[in-house]
Subunit: 375 residues, 2 copies
């Protein structure tokens, strides 16, 4: 009974749905049949009008809230946002989160079996764009009988998906909430992903993607993750967390002696290959690099002209990966087109990761935005 | 005769000086005898009172100006600053630039022969700090009969050396001009160097520093250089130079297809091992990480209290490696201590590299500063 006193989502299970059809990707290639992993929290109402789609970032998954077992040490990645009485209130909303295609967390991706060969796709997997991920989500929602979304909300790559939802399924989406996003990935972000890629390619264990699952190119992959990690943090958050402290275990004048920040990056990088597939990481990095809302439109104006619903945007002052200017570029176009758009620049020291670390800084605006939608 | 019509420094040769003494390093270890590579431009006057010391950055060298031969394609790294009638006017000043210890460009470093073993030091080379580099430069100037410097000027690691000169040899230095510097390296800068280090350590050819000079760990070293390269650029300069252009040679949906920015980083990284030693790169990265002007003082205030001469500081708006705030931290302390300090925040889009790319943005202030010194 004790757990009922909390506001936690109760125990949840990741479910999968099989979609027996081929999806034509932006590249022109076909992908299918598709499997999508997803979780749901709350209850779909009789009119199926209370669904919210939560979209995840690069290495995220369908497990946005709750715990998989009583022993689970950590809840889902946005658990502080989702639950009874929380921002995405599961007493009111039916919240759905699905793993994107291209990932390795239950949805069809490079680790899945290629139906044409009976073996894992690996680098035979087609390049997917964020638009393709959203198209696959649409097929999933169709199969689940959901034809209306109160909102689509997500950070980083999740923000890209939210925007694509608003543009490509305007009849289905009542609002979108892109957080720490961008209308098109900057050359700086691409350059950082290029470092991550090269770190993996340099690892002899990578074998052009033909490593065995139990023998990932761990050194290169750990370094690639560390590149990402740095870009998610900020000067300020590093200063707060590590400063210039030198590892107590090392000698300052030892060649291999480390500062705390270095030890942290190494540790976190090394723990990563155990929970993510390297090829998936590369495919999703590619999807991030290729992201441009104006893809297949004449420009950003034409693309954003299709966004009819209210949109609520957040950027963070210390985010240097997808800088506030990048959100503002999109918001400016929407404002000039007289679209119903709201933008908040949130003062946070936690860099790109602010949307995960300090949700309380922006959630009051989300609550109010959702309340207004009901009116 | 045609060359005399130009303002170029004429042909120059890198010279070396042998200092037959052991330098006690900050680590407590002894290093010696020492070799220092240097170049000079202009003529030392009768009273030896017109000398200027130019200090170089991470992978720089003594070759700051002029050409080594008529066929030389590229002049020295700060040629646009040094020459007859230029900012550092060789009709007036005797300009000296020396390669730091720890480097591989002629001064004692990891590629030098360890007198105790008769073989290259490699990782037996002691950790050197910027303060040690400056101490070695002092021995060199002593040997050259120079006991007074009009100024010490340099960018990045060169700025650190200029500051150390001002603090540790106040009787010898009449002014300092630190550009794009910092009073202490930030955890972000350390984290980026950590990526570079790990890229090298991951390369099986590195062999803990015991590679043959002709078989450097080229893949890892190229990646390490690319990390540095990114940190020297800025969001703006990358947008100007590359934007989101995709390589014309690649297919957008090819797994190995590259954006222009990625191709550029790879190309530049790959050309680097031919002109720099990997162990030296690592030792100098370590010196950068360890840099803290307050090292062996009670704090920044006590360290900077020793700076008596006028100092002229520049930071660049788009520099995210050593951010303007880091220069301002030092300048604030100097101002509070009523030191003669001048600071200019220069609006430039070229990131940390601005001091090399857009000198015209700050050189008028340097010219005026040097003119005032004469009064």
């Amino acid at each position: 009974m004790e757990r009922n006193l909390t506001n936690d989502v109760q125990l949840v299970t990741t479910q999968t749905i099989e979609i027996d059809q081929e999806l034509r990707l932006e590249s022109g290639r076909l992908l299918g049949p598709l499997t999508l992993a997803y979780e749901t929290y709350g209850t779909l109402n009789d009119t199926a009008s209370n669904a919210i789609l939560v979209t995840h970032a690069w290495t995220g998954d369908a497990h946005a809230a709750g715990r998989h077992s009583e022993e689970d040490r950590k809840p889902g990645w946005w658990d502080n946002m989702i639950g009874p009485g929380r921002v995405l209130d599961t007493d009111k909303y039916y919240v759905i989160c699905s793993n994107v295609i291209g990932s390795c967390k239950g949805s069809t991706g490079p680790t899945s079996t290629n139906p044409q060969t009976g073996r894992p796709y690996r680098l035979k997997f087609p390049i997917v764009m964020v638009r393709d991920m959203v198209r696959a989500q649409k097929l999933m929602l169709d199969a689940l009988g959901i034809s209306s979304l109160v909102t689509v909300i997500g950070g980083s790559m999740g923000a890209m998906q939210a925007l694509e939802w608003g543009i490509h399924y305007p009849d289905m989406v009542r609002s979108i909430i892109p957080i720490a996003g961008t209308g098109r990935t900057s050359p700086m972000a691409i350059a950082l992903n290029a470092l991550a890629r090269q770190a993996i390619y340099n690892d002899p264990l990578w074998k052009k993607g033909n490593y065995k699952p139990e023998h990932q190119p761990a050194s290169g992959f750990a370094l690639a993750r560390a590149v990402g990690h740095i870009s998610f943090l900020s000067e300020e958050s590093m200063a707060m967390k590590f400063g210039r402290r030198f590892s107590a275990r090392d000698g300052l004048f030892d060649f291999f002696g480390q500062f705390e920040v270095e030890r942290y990056l190494e540790y976190n990088g090394n723990s990563f290959p155990a929970r993510f597939d390297c090829n998936s990481f590369l495919y999703l990095a590619k999807a991030l690099d290729l992201y441009d809302v104006s893809w297949n439109f004449s420009g950003m104006e034409e693309a954003l002209e299709r966004l009819d619903c209210p949109s609520l945007w957040f950027a963070f002052t210390s985010d240097w990966l997808y800088r506030p200017e990048q959100t503002e570029e999109v918001v400016d176009v929407l404002q000039k087109a007289n679209k119903p758009v709201t933008y908040h620049l949130i003062d946070s020291d936690y860099g790109h990761d602010s949307f995960l670390v300090e949700p309380e800084k922006f959630t009051p605006y989300v609550v109010e935005f959702l309340r207004q939608l009901e009116v």
